[in-house]
Every structure is written in C-alpha cells, then in structure tokens.
C-alpha cells in the first residue's frame, strides 16, 4: 500500500479549476519529483496535500486514512509537513524560534530535533538568534526545511525549494536531501529545475494544465518525452 495517494484529485480557486483528476502515489521511503511549467498545478497539488486547500476527503489518503477534507493543522500531526513555496519564514521569530514552532503544542520523537537540524545546516546554529528574515535566501530555505523536519514527518513536501536561489546555493540545499531520505522520510519534491529533480527522485511525475501528463523513473524517460509532457509539444 502506498504511503500517500491521490485519486481523481480536483481543486478549484473560485470558478477556476486548477486540477483535473490528478492521481499520484508515494511509496514508503520513496522520493518523487513533480515537474512542470508555471501554472501546471504543482503548487495547487502541494496546497491540497498539506490541507491549505480542502478537498473531498477520499481524494487524498495518508496511510489509508482519508485526509482530503482535513485542515493543515489536522494533517501535520498525522505526519505530513510542507516546506512552502517562497519559504514563508515568520519575520517576528528568530531562526531558532522558527525551527521550534515546527513542533508547536506536541512532543515528537524521531531523528530530527534542534541539534540534528544544526548538524544538517551548521550555519543556522551560528545565526540562531537572528531574525529569520535577516538571512540570505539560501539560509532562509534551510530554516524552512528545518522547520518542517522538526515535526519528524513521514512525508515531507518541498515546494520549489530552488526557486530564486543561485546554482551554488541550490547545490548546498540539495546536498541535504540524501540525509533527509536516510532519516526515513518520504519526499515529494516540486521543481521547475528538471535536472535537479531527476537527480534526487526515484520517480517523476510531469504536470501540465492541471493534469499528470507523464510518469516514470528518471532513467526510463527520454528528453523528448519530458519536453512533450512539459510543454505539450514535441521537441
């Protein structure tokens, strides 16, 4: 049984329909990448999975439990955490407070705590008392990832974690992914950077206009397949 699945997932913003029957499955210990152009519905999918957008309950299941109708604060304790697009650190909180808020109101057991986050991203330990938003973009992304990890999620959603960052910084951020995988978390990585997505993912889904247009392992997909699924035209 898959850890997290969507079945015929639809999503609307008012009258505008953003997702048209999306089916994806994430298996235990797996990392999948969702790629696609701007407006393909990747972020809408992430917002649905995390509970920011509500759906019909049975459209999304986590370990067999229907979670589509739950709110974000109900889903997080079940073991699904998100690194939101644009990092979304809390400006009123220091780096350390931003990390601590990830475990609000709960005692969680697991590999990830302040100490292991600081081992993963040593620069954050040096800057722990700075306001979160005083950091560089890459460091802010590290805080956002650490904040989500603090809840020791079974599933970690990463929405566009390379967006707006310099290539060398993206490399640093992605260097943390294997360690996150080793800790037992399963990952869904949303990326516009196809090359980066291919490197970390076991399987890739490509989305276009609110639908999944291609699915497969990185090795099985040709450049042309991806090009066609990504843009809707052959190269």
């Amino acid at each position: 049984m898959s850890l997290l699945t969507t079945k015929g997932l639809t999503a609307h913003y008012g009258d505008f329909q953003a997702l048209f029957g999306v089916d994806i499955a994430l298996n235990q210990g797996e990392t999948i990448a969702i790629i696609g152009a701007n407006g393909a519905g990747k972020t809408t999918l992430m917002r649905s999975l995390s509970g920011v957008l509500r759906n019909a309950p049975e459209m999304i299941t986590l370990e067999g439990q229907a979670i589509g109708g739950m709110s974000a604060d109900q889903i997080l304790p079940l073991g699904l955490a998100m690194v939101p697009e644009g990092r979304k650190l809390f400006p009123s909180l220091s780096v350390e407070e931003n990390l601590l808020i990830g475990t609000y109101g709960r005692k969680v057991d697991g590999y990830w705590n302040l100490q292991t986050i600081y081992e993963l991203f040593p620069i954050l330990a040096e800057r722990r008392n700075n306001p979160g938003t005083a950091l560089s973009g890459g460091q802010q992304q590290m805080v956002a990832i650490g904040r989500a990890l603090m809840s020791n999620p079974k599933v970690l959603l990463c929405d566009e974690i390379s967006l707006g960052l310099a290539p060398v910084v993206i490399k640093d951020i992605y260097a943390a992914v294997p360690k996150i995988q080793e800790s037992g978390a399963s990952l869904i990585v949303v990326e516009q950077d196809v090359g980066q997505a291919m490197k970390v993912a076991d399987r890739v889904y490509c989305m276009m206009e609110g639908r999944v247009t291609l699915e497969g392992t990185p090795a099985s997909l040709s450049r042309d397949d991806i090009h066609a699924a990504y843009f809707g035209v052959s190269a």
């Binding site: 920011v52 974000a72 604060d73 009123s92 407070e97 808020i101 809840s151």
Partner: protein, 287 residues
C-alpha cells in the same frame, strides 16, 4: 511644586489608560481586529464585579479574582463562535459586528442595571496616600500604575518567552503558514481574546474603584484606549503604556490649566502625535 504633582497624577492616570488599552493592543497585534465593544466589555466587567460585591459581600479585589475566569470564558467563546467568523480579507465585518455588540451590550447593561451611576466600594484605600516628600500620591493610583506595568511585563514575557507567545507571533505574521505548523489560528485568536478579557477585568476593577460608571461610558473608554494604542504604535505593548501615559499627562496638564480642557487636551495630544509620527512612537517593523 504643583506642577510636579500634576505631572505625577498624569503619569499615574496613564496607567489606568494603559490598562484600558492593553487588551485592545494585544488583540489588534495578533489578529488585526479592532474590537469596538472593548470599552463596553470593561463596563460589563465592572458591573460583574459590582454584582459579586453586592450579592456576596466580597471586597472588590476578591470579586475581580472571581470575575476574571468568567470574563476569560466570555472572551474565548466570543472569539471562537462569533468574531472568528468575521475575520478575513475584508476589514469591515469585524468593525460592524463589534459595533453592534457595543450597542447591544450598552442596552443590556441599561436594562439590567438602570442608568444610575455606580461605584465599587473601596474602603480606606481610596483615600490612602503615600508622602514622598516633594509630593503625595494616592495608593490607588499607584496600585493602578503598578498593575499596568505588571500587565505589560507579563504580556511581554508571554509573547517572547513562551511557546504560546511564539504561536501568537507566528499566527500574527502569517496564519496560513502557521496552520502548516499544526497551529489552529482560530484557537490562538480565542486564547488571545480570552487573555485580553483578563486585562479588561483588571481595568474594570480600577475604573470602578476610582470613578463612577454607568452603562454608557464604554465608548469613551474605547476612545482613550484606542488613542493609547495608536500613539504607542500598533501592536507594541510598551508603546501602549507610553501612549496611555501621554494621554493621561495631557489630560491632567490640560485640566490644571483649565478644568474644561481636560478631555480636549488628551485628543489634541493624540492629534499632534499622529501628525508627527503617523505610525505611532514604536511601530512594528514588519507592518
């Protein structure tokens, strides 16, 4: 000598205004909600204390301790079941609903307690004073001011030293992202309003012991509180104390010059601060 006395009285009066304002400041700081019924809740709490004093023969201080959890519960329920429904991108619904609440509260108090002026019995404390050499200050105003400082210090500790305070600040920054952390914004807002009602109870205790009150004085208390919050800078608790002191000082100095100028002087001080520092004295950096 008389001026030193006037200044001292003004500062101490500022403590009372800061108590009026602290609850308003707390709620505004966390959820950007201006509760137009805030003054009426102070009056309601004063009547609740009065009721306990008359029915059970308690001292006002003991009555306030009993009234506080009742007001806490009212605040929680009010936010959870009514005001949370009004929050959103439109700022008008919370204003309309709390405005309506203000009218309803005033009329309910009028029905229940009549328009007669009331006062909490204080005993010897209302006339007790301490001789500081150059001036003499009343024990009750001093106690009010001390309570205001204690409330501001306490709320600051809560905000910056506790897990709940972190959740308050995070929810205030971005409620959607806070919910991704497992925080339920509606509950955070309900706790905030409940805590504000504890401060309201304390404000009501001193209001009722220091002056007469009747069901219609709520809106004027709201004005003083609102001015204190704006002068201090929206969302800054220490700023709210400073704002209260400025209003108190202006009113007392105005009254010393000409007794008719008391209220006017407070409003003028408010206008001057608005002209010079439109965002208040200690605005929050992230607004």
């Amino acid at each position: 000598m008389i001026w030193i006395d006037t200044l001292a009285q003004g500062i101490l009066l500022g403590g009372l205004y800061a108590l009026f304002a602290a609850g308003l400041s707390l709620v505004f700081g966390i959820m950007r909600l201006v509760n137009l019924a805030h003054g009426d809740f102070i009056v309601m709490a004063a009547y609740l204390i009065l009721l306990l004093v008359t029915l059970m023969g308690l001292s006002p201080f003991v009555a306030a301790i009993i009234a506080a959890p009742v007001m806490f519960g009212i605040g929680w329920g009010l936010q959870k079941h009514l005001l949370n429904r009004t929050l959103g991108n439109d700022i008008l619904p919370p204003l309309l609903v709390t405005f309506g609440l203000s009218i309803a509260l005033q009329n309910a108090l009028l029905e229940g307690f009549s328009a007669d002026s009331q006062r909490l019995p204080t005993g010897a404390i209302s006339t007790a004073s301490i001789d500081l050499g150059v001036l003499t200050v009343g024990v009750l105003p001093l106690l009010t001011f001390g309570s205001a400082i204690a409330v501001i210090v306490g709320l600051n500790q809560l905000f910056y030293r506790t897990e709940l305070g972190r959740a308050f600040r995070a929810t205030s920054d971005d409620a959607t992202t806070a919910s991704l952390m497992g925080i339920r914004p509606g509950n955070i807002f309900a706790i905030a309003t409940a805590i504000a009602m504890l401060v309201v109870t304390l404000a009501a205790l001193y209001l009722g012991m220091r002056s007469n009150f009747d069901p219609n004085i709520g809106p004027a208390r709201l004005i003083y509180a609102f001015q204190a919050v704006i002068i201090g800078g929206l969302g800054s608790l220490w700023g709210t104390l400073a704002g209260g002191i400025i209003i108190g000082l202006a009113q007392t100095v105005g009254a010393a010059v000409n007794p008719e100028w008391q209220i006017l002087a407070g409003h003028v001080a408010f206008l001057i601060v608005l002209l010079v520092r439109p965002r208040g004295l200690f605005p929050r950096a992230v607004d």
